[in-house]
Amino acid sequence: MTRLFDAIRGYLITLKRPLAESLFALLIGLLIGAGFMLAFGYDPIMGYISMLKGFGIFTIEGFLAVLAIIALGLLLTTFIGAYWAKIPQALAWPWRKKISRRSISSVAIVVFIVVFILFLISRMLEFLDKVELMEMLAYSVPLMLTAITFAVGMRAGIFNIGAEGQVYMGAVAAAWIGGHFVLPAGLHLFATTAFAMLIGAAWALLPAILKIRAGVHEVISTIMLNWVAFFHVPYLIINRFAGVYAERTATILPTARYPILGASLTAVIFVALAACVVVYILLWRTRAGYELRLVGDNPDAARYAGISIRRAILISFIIGGMAAGLAGASQTIGRPLMGWTLPATLGTVFGLGFWGIGIAVVGRNHPIGGIFAALLFAGMLNGAKFMEYDWGISSELVVAIQGVIIIALAIPALLATSRRGVRRLKIRRGPR
């Protein structure tokens, strides 16, 4: 048991700095956002209270419940994280070693605690507004996926900002298969999702080849391909995949839609969460993932160790492309937007790739961290409409706040830097 507590403490220590930095950047963003509200005569406190409605918080009890959920969720992730990270040394995998009484009891304890925390969280959800909560979850799906694109790239030392174009391509691919092909129910859904991921990865392939073979910087190639997709997809929608409505794709057939769970949330969220977990396992629990991260951390060491840098870069591009393609699919076959169609203005998918950058940065380039960051930003994006309904504050302010958060997190060692700055100020003001 003491070993388990040690493991938890160790995990918390590794979690503390990134978490504190993300929260600090969030605070900066919200403060600057408040400044912009004040500058134009709005009340920032009331604005932010309205924004909380996007998280499903309508009452004080709801607010307290969310605080409790955050605390419990932190406990849960800490627990699972500690178990997951340190268990081989501390308690041993029960199925690898001989099963002893100790390992059985420890597993039982872990399962019991996890179930108990999940039960508590489910009780806390009673205090929240179900519709807005589901809406928030629906918002978070594409965001956590595009965050993967950027995060995996950064882990391999690649600045892959091509998610935007890959999202468009994935969305239009899903709209094509989902709207124009007649297939049996289960297969259709699977084929549509898989094809969208495939097309997303195919769109990421060109920058990957250019990077690997000719050394073309990926920022340049991915930016250019984003804009190529921006003009390619509307053409496809209008001239190739049009349906009964003008400037929209054909309506997605019912066999290719994910079942709706409530509000605009569909079962695609489970696919997205599974994708995050799969990427996590791929990066941290397989050899290829280890090589990929090593290439990002120290390419020279990787080359010396005989790791193929090209292969690692290619893998990171392909994972990113698949995730972005899935994000595009989640907006066409996984959400009843525009009556299950994709508009030629790209209004339902525009910006997802850019926001994914911010979410990946806040989630510290970690797929699991990305889930939480995506929930946070999804709640803010969802809450922006309440800001507009209640007080007339333009909902786009949230995007600006997000930009500030990204700018703040671009500074490495944000907390240490700001602490040093404060100290310097104190010295200057001090007796001298």
Binding site: L210, V219, I220, I223, H232, Y235, S394, Q402, G403, I406
Partner: protein, 346 residues
Amino acid sequence: MRILAWLQRKKILGRLISVVAVLVFILYLLWAHDLLRVELFEYTVRALTENWKALLLSTSLLATPLTLAAVGECINERAGLFNIGLEGIFFLSVVIGVRGAEIIGSGVAGLLVGLLTGALIGFIFSVLAVYLRANQLVLGMGINIFAMGMLAYLLATIWAFPGIHSVRQEFHIPKMLGFFTPVFFVAVIAAILAHILIHRTLFGIRIRAAGEKPEAVDVAGVRVDRIRILACTVGAALAGLGGAFFALGWFGEIVKEMAVGMGFIALAVVVVAGLEPLLALAIAFVFGFVRALADWVATMPGINAVLPGAFYIMHMVPFLVTILVVTIFIGRRRFPRALGKPYIRE
């Protein structure tokens, strides 16, 4: 096989594969847009011969912000700062420039306000990048996203009318001879001055050295941080001037989607030009011309029935050309060695 080995030894094989990949990609686009046909050339020739004057006018309008932003970006990339927030600078300086014009009551003052806005953003960018060693790419994307939200927010709050705002007629920059906009000449002069600055002055040598080998500049007793901050401020100021020009010298209104993509075309211009301001001027003109042609072809009667993909493919041309040029010339057009890297004194 021997040819293959020779190619590999000369390191041509990789580039050959890449070029083939890009060409296949372009062919795919042409095929997907149903454009492997003769009509495209016929229509292009018709557009060129019938309306070259109007095309030239819209080219000069399009090339102005592109040139200004590209020349500015050339200067700060020479100094080692890679600012991909050009689009964000456009967005912010559009709104603030127009607001400035309305408060001060003059269109030229509006352009100057836009210039100052750009300078301020560049200053903040460079201070964060130089002193706090921020990741310049993340920073640039952050500026883009911030500006995307801020443009819509300011539009909705300042003029209380979401999405669009018309600028009053008296604030428009008058066109010379009813044809060229004077800002275009400013852009041309800026390109020439930037060329002289970079290649003919001591400060230009310092800027280039700060991008190539900041250690050497530091050893020579010159402050790297100041050079970089100054270069980035000047560069972003030019982009800000271009941004204000959108509303005051061209459209006469602010629309949310007005400058979408233009910042990235400017970035493409810089990349293709290989950081040469005069070349950037020429390439901005070419890209502006292609885009003007695209808009012209789109409004041509009957073309949508025959060639529906022409409009879209022409909008892609700057981006495709950039990819192709970068792939072919990447070895010859070398970028500063310290581009994008913070300088840490040891």
